[in-house]
Symmetry: C2
Subunit: 334 residues, 2 copies
DNA sequence: ATCTGGACGGCAATGGGTTGCCAACCAGTT
DNA sequence: AACTGGTTGGCAACCCATTGCCGTCCAGAT
């Protein structure tokens, strides 16, 4: 007993296949009574449309692909979660792809999926702007935590967030901060540094950047050593993983946090409030970023919004004050 | 300029579409020279096969669906990671579905995907055995952290793992443990309790179970209170999230860990070694579970392994000794 | 010179829906 | 009674790759 097709339903209901098809996809092209009858028969037979057959001609797949630059990072889980839930709510299927921090893998995977999905949400893409624009020309594309002129995007507002961080540090008497930069081709890393620097300038703090570092716990060692060498009193790490690695290294070197130096992270991952000392970090509704990105994508598949600029959403951030930041020491640790 | 089809390639190469198709899928049905030529032309045109058209007739989709009972739990992300990587290695696409702990959602989503995927990997499925068997009859299915007679599965060996836990506790002088149970329909919860009880019996420890609890941090409050009420000296929580919640509640109630009670978790999530005190927990190569499950699934699509019993893999666990377990107190805390 | 069989390429049906176009029908106008 | 326009259902082409089957060709055997 094979899965029934539209033909089986049509025969059983005594109508043409087109009527069956329209009963599902174009309800108002068919008489209400006829439709009811068809749907009843379909339900009785246990009919379910074959998504491939549907996609082949119509081009609509009811599928979106989410590409993540590094699935290892727990921060992305929240994005994935938000995206998955939003997709499911509209009966869309979410395809998950890990780019392993490699632009080449990212690009190849996307090209492979182009004919199979309705659109892409790219989380912290490592691809250059031109590639993104080109991909967006093939399929609707929404960026997460990345902005490119002319493309829709959802980001957490890091400009405001970085200002919050610097104001917080300044209010504690810090005069010199060091930013432990993320990967070279990370838009986020560039944005954070630029925002930190401007905020620091505005408030008269000295700021410097070292790195880049791969944002993992394991990189915390060299990052912490570099930060101490800079003699800054406040360390702003590219993300929480790196910050946690820094905390571990500082403890190892008997540098006290927050007494000797303050440490700030980004992302507010689950572990940030559990580590010792608990980590001051810039949080935000990450799941909401995922949700919003898919939302925009689904709208892009709907009525054309010609001319209108693509939406560039910036969601608010909030600085989670915890125990890793405190008054600046007079003399920074060495 | 639309994406080129097999027809465009055929025309450009001066052959029939069937030759083009065979150049890709049945290399030895076509002359080597012809094939080279076709591939060259295809590459020049930037041809990529349309997966839907391919799936429609051949039935092979190069896609596997992974269904997760609760995407919120960081533990699953390791499974997802492993599964994603293994799928990508074989150029398979991974579809991710969250069942939100609801058997009904889980079942519906699976049925929706049946015609679109080559098989399922189900992580900690909450469905009853009959449903799983029925699904497996429709598409190859591999279970993760769940075992059902006659179905392939990959689990961490919790029988041995629970024995390790109990032996560890016994060696510290504990005589009474309490298990904070997970969800009612969780196979894992039943397995853990059964294994703990047997190991406890064998070593002459008293064991009891309370719950069920939803395994989240927020449930740690009631769980901890119940555990204290039991007057056991050792608490074994269904997973690390619950254990972390328990630690928080115990601190709030000024019960010292590990001096007054010992706490053990399961999963060894990232946060387990960062919380205070760091958590003794049963770890294992979770990503490997995901990897192995997809591996088995892909093999199932290959040569038929008739008669042979479906593989039931049990991967080793390891007890991560940290600071939340220590010698039992003479008199348990109240 | 004829036969045999393997290698190779092409024709056309196939899978399961979707949709443009046409025809039938009906009610309401004039 | 003839005409108009809107609603509804059916026919058949279409999407794109796969594959069963057949025909051609050529080398080697007899």
């Amino acid at each position: 007993m094979d899965r029934p097709t539209i033909y089986d339903v049509a025969t059983a209901a005594g109508v043409a296949t087109s009527t069956v098809s329209r009963s599902f996809s174009t309800p108002n092209r068919v008489n209400a009574e006829t439709r009811q009858h068809v749907l009843a028969v379909a339900a009785r037979l246990g009919y379910r449309p074959n998504p491939h057959a549907r996609a082949l001609l119509s081009g609509r797949h009811h599928t979106v692909a989410m590409v993540v630059s590094d699935i290892t990072n727990p921060h992305y889980f929240e994005l994935i979660r938000g995206a998955e839930m939003r997709a499911k709510a509209s009966e869309y299927t979410l395809v998950l792809v890990n780019a392993e921090e490699s632009p080449r893998i990212e690009y190849d995977q996307i090209q492979r999926l182009v004919p199979a999905v309705d659109g892409f949400v790219l989380a912290a893409s490592r691809l250059p702007d031109e590639n993104l624009t080109q991909i967006a020309a093939q399929r609707p594309t929404v960026l997460m935590n990345r902005q490119v002129r002319g493309l829709p995007s959802v980001v957490l507002d890091h400009v405001s967030g970085c200002r919050q961080i610097v104001e917080h540090l300044a209010s504690l008497g810090h005069r010199h901060l060091v930013y432990l930069a993320g990967p070279e081709n990370s838009w986020m890393a560039a944005t954070r540094w630029s925002a930190l620097r401007h905020a620091a300038d505005a408030l008269g703090l000295r700021s410097q950047r070292i790195g880049p570092f791969t944002p993992k716990v394991s990189q915390g060692g060299p990052a912490a050593d570099g930060a101490l060498h800079s003699r800054a009193t406040a360390i702003v790490a590219h993300n929480d993983l790196l910050a946690i690695g820094v905390l571990q290294r500082l403890r190892q070197r008997s540098v006290r946090v927050p007494e000797d130096v303050s440490v700030v992270g980004f992302d507010d991952i689950f572990a940030a409030e559990l580590c010792t000392p608990s980590l001051t970090t810039l949080g935000g509704a990450h799941a909401e970023v995922g949700r919003a990105a898919v939302e925009i994508l689904l709208q892009a598949n709907g009525p054309a919004r010609d001319g209108a600029d693509p939406p560039q959403v910036a969601l608010p951030t909030e600085l989670m004050l915890r125990s890793s930041t405190a008054d600046a020491r007079e003399t920074p640790a060495t």
